[in-house]
Amino acid sequence: MTQSVELTINGRRRQDHVEPRLLLVHYLREVAGLTGTHISCDTSQCGACTVLLDGEAVKSCSVFAVQADGRSVTTIEGLAKDGTLHPVQQAFWSEHGLQCGFCTPGFIMAAAYLLQQNPTPTDDEIDRGLEGNLCRCTGYHNIKKAVRAAASAMNGGTAELSGNVASPVAAAVEG
């Protein structure tokens, strides 16, 4: 027994027939083919599956696809616009906020939502805003720095950056 859903994913409308029990994360990955949203914990602790549903960060393992009917979803694939990275994506790159990269899409979506709600978070507010996301590689140090840097960039400021460089030609060699 399937049910019809019609939703907008990353600005594009689509209609599908799905089982009522199909999780939104499975719908995104397996029906819509958007595999950037990841599954890690199965019990909604880790936040790897975070997407924006009508602009609000949700764990897509805890939403049925049919609950997204008529609504709008933004996934990690839809965050960069016209070939330009979102400031949060850029900051995760420049501050080395990822290693294996598996938790990263969820972190970036959660951080983007946090900064949309609170453009100038304190460290404590960053902690609380991202406590629904788990990372096992970074010890969170550079993730926090990335969120600070993104907040600063989005507010037109210059964050205290780590001095990591995109271009090797400009790379300074440390003693």
């Binding site: 598996f102 938790c103 096992r136 970074t138 926090k144 003693g175």
Partner: protein, 779 residues
């Protein structure tokens, strides 16, 4: 034009653009036409006899392709899972493990049957319909009881529950203890941990009928190792089997073995004639992916009242689990490193590996070295407390000070300057000011503490001379460097990256060694189809061994390019100068050829007499020694005596891993490593019910992985003492943070609680544990 130097450059990672935009290629992202999905029926018992398996209801489900048990797999999978016993033990028992249980299950989560269906939901539903009857048997859970002759057996066909019993004597320990002025004793636990990579395991197998060819995509740290063993068991030669491991979402040691599920998925593909995908769910992962640690140490330290350390005697009881992990015996290295960064007259260690009805333990980040560091750094603090000496001073007094240093067991520490890291870390944290403030706070009823960890570790596995006793194994690493006709370079390696940033750092090395632009170098790893045989990534070996294999191939390429340049300039080879990728005749730098020009020439006509076309090389590097990173970590905590809660106020780490290729990456490895050690010290513990063998915290809801809110910001610095072991002067840094950090936290907590007379705290130092200890001390 080549840049001047790539070594030491803080370059952002080339891995990241795809990962931050959702275009990574992890195992669950692999989808093939006509692919079926596999779900595994696992034992709900720690120990039981299987009396019957009824698959009829599952088979009758719409969409189910097959339900398979050991009887179906036996004709297809030959032999058992590999075990590498790294150390020769006095007594050794290595039971054979088939990838799926036949008539007796011996750990919770052991595979019993698999269901293959058209989609994952159907497979999982049908797995619920497989009816297995079990006759429960006693679960062997307690290490010390398991060693006794009257203990029930972990598996009924074994003589006893002992996996190994190995003695490591060095020096006259009895004489040293007889002359000592002070002897302290302590039992120190190393609780079981889930390694918990954020991506669980999984694989996709595509067996091509009639051709006997297999492609196996799998989330592993060791693709070549998987091909060797899975291919071997299924009768598929390496030449017809390709193992692909693209992006892997973390490993931390838990993905360094060929797993039973890789055999089962491949065999299921063969039996069903379709590609088959298996993705582990988190509860399966916690039950069936190897665990870390699970050890108990009983230590005795002999010292003099002036702080001179004399002797160390200890026993390691190691919970193997029901079967050996592939490298479980490696953790015996804790015995050989138990002396840490200090001089000892004698050390006597013994390791006993004990089977229990639990999941196998295997290396988890550090694998034996966090345990060694924890025991020796606790030992030193216990002596310091006993004789009233400052913990920094007792370390300084006993440090190994000259290098190379041969330790009590004949291992050679290649280089070091331990005092320098201690001094620097004390300077950063302002030790004297901390002690002063600590006194003031204690007067106010607040309990702060400071903990040292001055570690040394062994990594860069490993010299064949050391690894050969384990079945003749040589843990070398490989590379193939190919310069294409227009000058771009492909470097293929046998190591594997799953967060370590090799695509960036290895390109830095090759660009530097070849004198070519960084952007022209591409790193290939994780696909046995286009990489030379290698042992993969673990034991902080990829740079010191794999990086050197890249250097070796680059040198061969440069030597051939030199010949090509000599030919082009009609000069003698001896007169060709190679300077940052430019080849010219001595004295005439204005007329030079870059590598790309020589590469183009190498594929054309008119080569020197006898020279073959092409510009490429393959190398295998067997290191002459291990490498020995070291450093000093200092943790400052406050313990709330009313709740037992620990707050980390500061965490300072000064590490020395020799020369650094990319400081950004080194810092990132340290952050993550330190966090995992802090997490062991404060939060994590796999809990089983000792009576039934049931797992009590088998979800991430119940198992405490820290969030950002629990982690401090780290204060890092480093010293640079190049390794003399390899040309790059590098050591390793992937595990150092974890090796150092758990005991820095625990030493800080014991320091904080010293006014209560508390001299030792077990891990995890959860609030309830500390609160109870404080309450008892106050009573």
């Amino acid at each position: 034009m080549a840049v001047t130097s790539m070594i030491g450059a803080r370059i952002q990672r080339r891995e990241d653009p795809k990962l931050i935009t959702g275009h990574g290629h992890f195992i669950d992202d692999v989808n093939l036409v006509n692919m079926a999905h596999m779900s595994i029926v696992r034992s709900p018992h720690a120990h039981a006899r299987i009396t019957s398996i009824d698959t009829a209801a599952a088979l009758a489900s719409n969409g189910v392709v097959a339900v398979l048990t050991a009887a179906d797999f036996k004709p297809v999978i030959h032999g058992g899972l590999p075990v590498t016993n790294s150390f020769v033990a006095d007594k050794k028992q290595i039971p054979e493990q088939f990838p799926i249980a036949t008539d007796e299950v011996v750990y919770l989560g052991e595979p019993v049957a698999v269901v293959v269906a058209d989609d994952r939901y159907t497979a999982d539903d049908a797995a619920q319909l497989v009816a297995v009857d079990y006759e429960p048997l006693p679960a062997v859970m307690d290490l010390e009881l398991a060693m006794t002759p009257s203990s029930p057996l972990v598996k009924s066909d074994r003589p006893d529950n002992i996996g190994w019993d190995a003695a490591f004597p060095a020096g006259d320990i009895d004489a040293v203890f007889a002359e000592a002025e002070v002897i302290v004793k302590q039992r120190i636990g190393q609780q079981r941990l889930f390694p918990t990579p954020m991506e669980t395991r999984g694989c996709v197998a595509d067996y091509v009928p009639f051709d006997n060819r297999v492609t196996l995509w799998t989330s592993t740290q060791v693709p070549h190792f998987v091909r060797l063993f899975v291919g071997g068991a299924l009768g598929v030669p390496e030449s017809q089997m390709r193992v692909v491991s693209h992006d892997v979402g973390g490993g931390f040691g838990s993905k360094i073995r060929p797993y039973g599920e890789e055999y089962l998925t491949t065999a299921a593909s063969k039996l069903c004639g379709r590609p088959v995908k298996w993705i582990e769910d988190r509860t399966e992962s916690l039950q069936a992916t190897t665990h870390g640690r699970g050890q108990i140490f009983d230590i005795e330290v002999a010292a003099n009242r002036d702080g001179t350390l004399l002797g160390l005697r200890f026993t390691q009881l190691l919970d193997i689990g029901a079967y050996h992990g592939v490298f479980s015996a490696f953790q015996v290295v804790a015995c050989l490193l138990g002396g840490g960064a200090y001089e000892w007259k004698a050390i006597n260690a013994r390791s006993i590996g004990i089977f229990t009805n639990r999941t196998a333990t295997d290396p988890y980040r550090g694998a034996g070295r966090p345990e060694a560091t924890h025991l020796v750094e606790r030992a030193v603090d216990l002596v310091a407390r006993e004789i009233g000496m400052d913990p920094a001073e007792i370390r300084r007094k006993n440090f190994v000070k000259t290098f190379p240093h041969v330790n009590n067991f004949g291992l050679t520490y290649d280089s070091g300057d331990y005092e320098k890291t201690l001094d620097r870390a004390m300077e950063i944290i302002d030790y004297a000011a901390f002690r002063k403030r600590q006194e003031e706070l204690r007067a106010q009823g607040r309990y702060t503490g400071i903990g040292f960890s001055t570690y040394v570790e062994i990594c860069g596995l490993g010299p064949s001379a050391a690894t050969a006793p384990a079945a003749g194994i040589a843990l070398v690493e490989s590379s193939m460097v190919r310069v294409h006709p227009t000058g771009s370079v492909t470097v293929s390696v046998g190591t594997h990256a799953h967060g370590q940033s090799h695509e960036t750092t290895f390109a830095q090395i090759a660009a530097d060694a070849l004198g070519v632009p960084y952007d022209s170098v591409e790193i290939h790893h994780g696909d046995t189809g286009d990489t030379p045989f290698g042992y993969g990534t673990y034991g902080s070996r990829s740079l010191a061994v794999g990086g050197m294999a890249i250097m070796a191939s680059c040198h061969k390429v440069v030597e051939k390019a030199r010949k090509l340049a000599a030919h082009a300039f009609e000069a003698s080879e001896d007169d060709i100068v190679v300077d940052q990728g430019r080849y010219f005749v001595r004295g005439n730098p204005g007329e030079a050829k870059v590598l790309a020009e020589l590469a183009f020439a190498s594929y054309g006509a008119g080569l020197p007499e006898g020279m073959e076309q092409g510009l490429e090389a393959v190398s295998y590097f067997d290191p002459p020694n291990f490498v020995w990173p070291f450093g000093c970590h200092i943790c400052a905590v406050e313990v709330d005596p009313e709740t037992g809660a620990v707050t980390i106020d500061r965490y300072v780490a000064v590490d020395d891993c020799g020369n650094v290729i990319n400081p950004m990456v080194v810092e990132g490895q340290l952050h993550g490593g330190i966090a995992q050690g802090i997490s062991q010290a404060l939060f994590e513990e796999v809990s089983y019910d000792d009576a039934t063998g049931q797992m009590l915290n088998g979800t991430m809801l119940d198992y405490l992985i820290p969030t950002m809110a629990e982690m401090p910001m780290f204060e890092l610095d480093r010293t640079v003492t190049p390794s003399p072991t390899n040309e790059l002067g590098v050591k390793g840094i992937g595990e150092a943070g974890t090796i150092a950090s758990s005991v820095a936290v625990i030493n800080a907590i014991t320091d904080a609680l010293s006014p209560f007379g508390i001299r030792h705290v077990e891990m995890p130092a959860r609030p309830d544990r500390l609160w109870s200890m404080i309450k008892e001390a106050r009573a």
